[in-house]
Symmetry: C2
Amino acid sequence: MLMSTNLDQLAVTTIRMLALDTIQKANSGHPGLPLGAAPLAYVLFDRTMKFNPRNPAWFDRDRFILSAGHGSALLYSLLYLYGYEKMTLEELKNFRQWGSRTPGHPEHDIECGIETTTGPLGQGFATGVGMAIAEAHLAARFNRPGFEIINHYTYALVSDGDLMEGVAAEAASLAGHLKLGKLIYLFDNNRISLSGETAICFTEDIKKRFEACGWQVLEVLDGNNLEEIQEAIEKAKACTDAPSLIMVSTHIGYGSPKQDTFHIHGSPLKPEEVIETKKFYNWPVDKEFYVPDEVLQHTRRAVEQGERAEKEWRELFEAYTQKYPELAKELKDLMAGILPEGWEESIPVFKPEDGAVATRSAGGKVLNALAEKVSALIGGSADLDPSTNTVLKGKGSFQAPGVCNPNTQGIVDGPLGYEGRNIAFGVREHAMGAILNGIALHGGLIPFGATFFVFSDYMRPAVRIAALSKCKTIYVWTHDSVGVGEDGPTHQPVEHLASLRAVPNLVLIRPADANETAQAWRIAIKHQGGPVGLVLTRQKLPIIDRKKYAPAENLEKGAYVIADCAPEEPQIIIIATGSEVHLALEAYEKLSAEGVKVRVVSMPSWELFEAQSAEYKASVLPEKVKKRIAIEAGSTLGWHKYVGEEGIVIGIDRFGASAPGKEVLEKLGISTENLINKARELLGKK
Amino acid sequence: MLMSTNLDQLAVTTIRMLALDTIQKANSGHPGLPLGAAPLAYVLFDRTMKFNPRNPAWFDRDRFILSAGHGSALLYSLLYLYGYEKMTLEELKNFRQWGSRTPGHPEHDIECGIETTTGPLGQGFATGVGMAIAEAHLAARFNRPGFEIINHYTYALVSDGDLMEGVAAEAASLAGHLKLGKLIYLFDNNRISLSGETAICFTEDIKKRFEACGWQVLEVLDGNNLEEIQEAIEKAKACTDAPSLIMVSTHIGYGSPKQDTFHIHGSPLKPEEVIETKKFYNWPVDKEFYVPDEVLQHTRRAVEQGERAEKEWRELFEAYTQKYPELAKELKDLMAGILPEGWEESIPVFKPEDGAVATRSAGGKVLNALAEKVSALIGGSADLDPSTNTVLKGKGSFQAPGVCNPNTQGIVDGPLGYEGRNIAFGVREHAMGAILNGIALHGGLIPFGATFFVFSDYMRPAVRIAALSKCKTIYVWTHDSVGVGEDGPTHQPVEHLASLRAVPNLVLIRPADANETAQAWRIAIKHQGGPVGLVLTRQKLPIIDRKKYAPAENLEKGAYVIADCAPEEPQIIIIATGSEVHLALEAYEKLSAEGVKVRVVSMPSWELFEAQSAEYKASVLPEKVKKRIAIEAGSTLGWHKYVGEEGIVIGIDRFGASAPGKEVLEKLGISTENLINKARELLGKK
């Protein structure tokens, strides 16, 4: 272990002062954490972590998450000092300004070394668990004796706010169960929250709680003692079969006149307080963004060290490629996000004569077919395997070796170990969402997570982070409407389609039948730049006869004409999604038989449709056809955009009810009969 | 302690068989829990709880929550056996059918004795904490020596699924901190979840975790042993300064051929399995819904016992009224939900000359003025007191006596004890939401909870329960748009207005200035039948001159003409909400000066507007005025309903950015200039 030198102390002070100046210049930000926790971050960056500032995306780097994202100025200061080229001093000076790479809370930006978006508390904590899962899984699959190709740690700096959040509790419980030994969290234990001392609301025995969840818990009594911190981190690394929480006693706003009070949490200091603070540190009060040369020289060792580390890894990988060419090829493709050739060929085609099938069931079949080809696919459900149909058959259970026996795992089969591709998240939707983000951000894998659509509410903050961070995560949300039936309104989504359509950068797809489901999965696998949610039925739906109606491949355009009166112009357009498309087709048949010119538009995804050209959109929904009906078993909110002023929306703007699904749907107006009646009304035929 | 008799065993078997028949008749439901946990419920209903089936709403009753709501058939069977008149055998036979009072998961229905809506896991657990908070608070305020007017317990039956959910972890931590001694939870510890054994994902040391959170944890090794269960409950009651978790080892689906497997969790048995199960219990296999006379006689003792208990309480209350007439009057009004006379007079009026004020600040002033009069108001924030402005000044901190000292509580002042009306929820938005539900459902209080609007996502499942259960809860959601500024997109709501507007039965109000904020609070206090969300700005807004523009009292109609060109017909209508109303008024002034006939509609609440008559709605938005612009600093989703086909929506369909708030708003088009340009475009003047 290195002993602290004056240079170490000078470097720590530089971090503190740089963060402070960054915040003061913006006149906005959170000085409390950087001043208190700088030594922790210093030990991580200077003495612990493996990273290459010249290639921040190096696959085998250690990951660092600032879960307490409000301390962003600390992270930016470190990244600058440790040589991340995109994180310039100029960026620090533009902290919290339009167009900077230094937003108020860190946003995923791997070029700058920012691993994930944090700020909403608890998210970073749970996201890190996902990263550690990805590491453990890839290591189990690809490492071979003498070739520890995948071998890195996930570190996070977490705050009391993180630990109070339920998502962190869920993730902690799962991380302990999974014995993720390479997960090491430093808890900035300053006993102060935004609005007072933690004594007012957070007095649990944190050590005992984490031990109860299977963590090793270490304590550092002096958060300014670099050796003590380093020693604890080394103990954490030595414990390979449990995640570690290092509780470091720190002083929020250390060295400032507001030290140890909540006043220093989230507001800049006054100019005279800045001077007082700089004096405490014997820092030149007249300089801003001052970095002593010897400090920069010291911290920038990281550049050469990082390049060397990556070079050694590349050499190892080269040797590995010689010895295990196929494995190496697979891993290389995974790391690069390249899908195996011909992956799309595995997607099954469903025939009408196979009979009605729920889209959740069809989805399960498609997912399993894909998983055979696409070895990047890993995921599971929040304890709903038999209902969401998301088990990857024969692909094993992601478990720490020796934790459970094969008889315990329900309908999952195959190996029990980190190589397993089915993750049992437990009834922890929120942690599941954040863990998916962590797996996606780690790279190499395409994670999916399943639960009932109504419980997408539980994971919503993580979905937002995925959308904001452009994570490639896939949500399988089944039981998608009041068609759920007997389980009743607590389990029947109504508002969820509308409420998730409002989330920027989230693609939602609600397929109409088994073949649209297959296409939806195809899009989900291909889609780049954000999460995709598949919204699937509990109830069986007829498989649409694609010889008669337009092919399901059109789904990729978001909306398409599935049945038409062409070449004649439609008198009326019926727009439907998911389980309502077959009602629309029934109405189409009946109305057409009566001589009405009807077009039916299947509209599985608003977002994909909006991304099409204006010409395409107008070809599907021609402006001059004003008589339009939308039918969807959910909130009508937003549909007026597509039906226009003359149009009618058949939807559900109330909570559902407990009764057989078909009955609930009918009672709430989701029926062919009601659709036909409304169409006749609109056409003035009634 | 009563010793078990054969009659006890017969009664327990009756509960099990009644629940089983209920599920089988519906051919839908969850037999695992009722078969396993019936003895726990029996001990509670038969030997423990204080309730009056003839007056299920009796204020001083013990509360019972089936947090594991999927076991609803157990609850319904008990309520029938224990004499709740509305819970008839007919209702059991109509389990999960349209129009029944026996939905798939329990829905708040106090006439039937159903205290709260459960099913979404963890909610019941956290809701119960709210009920216990309400009890402790009212007891502290109203009990006097010899007059324990408020003196009841909150019980819940919780499952492993409940304990895995983060919301339960949050609530457990807070309940332990608050030392809620009258909170007693029985954990149906059957080690089986929906999709396998809990061993696959939930291996934490539950006892240790709850002890770490300040709970007393007791263990019952044989879940069929009534004495053992009863003894544990008595120990729990004896512990007055900590909540108790009783871990009861049970067997899911006890007595059925699928006992101890996940297959019995959520599906009815096959007919032959039912026979086998009934044989196990020596139960007549040819009878359905069979209740031996002696069992009914035994369980219906509850009716007389309950009437007596309530009578004694009423006598005590009478004596209390004699001795403490004012307190008694206040408590009576609280219990009946009657607001004090003249409460509305306390609402402040803000003047334009007072200068610009953020609606969060105005909201804080209004809340404080109201709290002086309306002693039912209790609440707090998720560790954001200084930002949400929701501290009730001088009203103390809701704390267990002796837990913390006055210096710890940030900006809260006044007494530290259960009589305090400021609740420090900690960074636990989700538990806060559920606790508000518990306080509201308990009765006697009007709870509010505050956080940043973007974090409404964290509490969304509880908001849904509030809406579904018609809870009178108030959410104070501040920092309502990208106007938040520097904190960046993680803290800037964009999709939240749209996504919450989609929730049935939730009233959302986004006031335009201080006076609309005052009116919004007035509505929130008065509103019955569901939750109200107040959406308030971080940034300052001018106070609208009400001599010049229409009065803020119009807010109660949801939308109103705030500025107009009457008697002339408008050429264009600008619709705005919240912080955009003053932009609309600026545009109005400029365009009017140019001779354009403009109407401005302030539309703080879609839900309140939709509840108005068609005439009123048409008077605000006359059909023939087709040129309309809506402006709102959030998702455009849904606005087309109000602007129509020719209209324009100025909104934000992307994530925000970190920069000063004004700059972000302007860059994203939320400016008077952009509004005027768009108006001119629409009018063909550009």
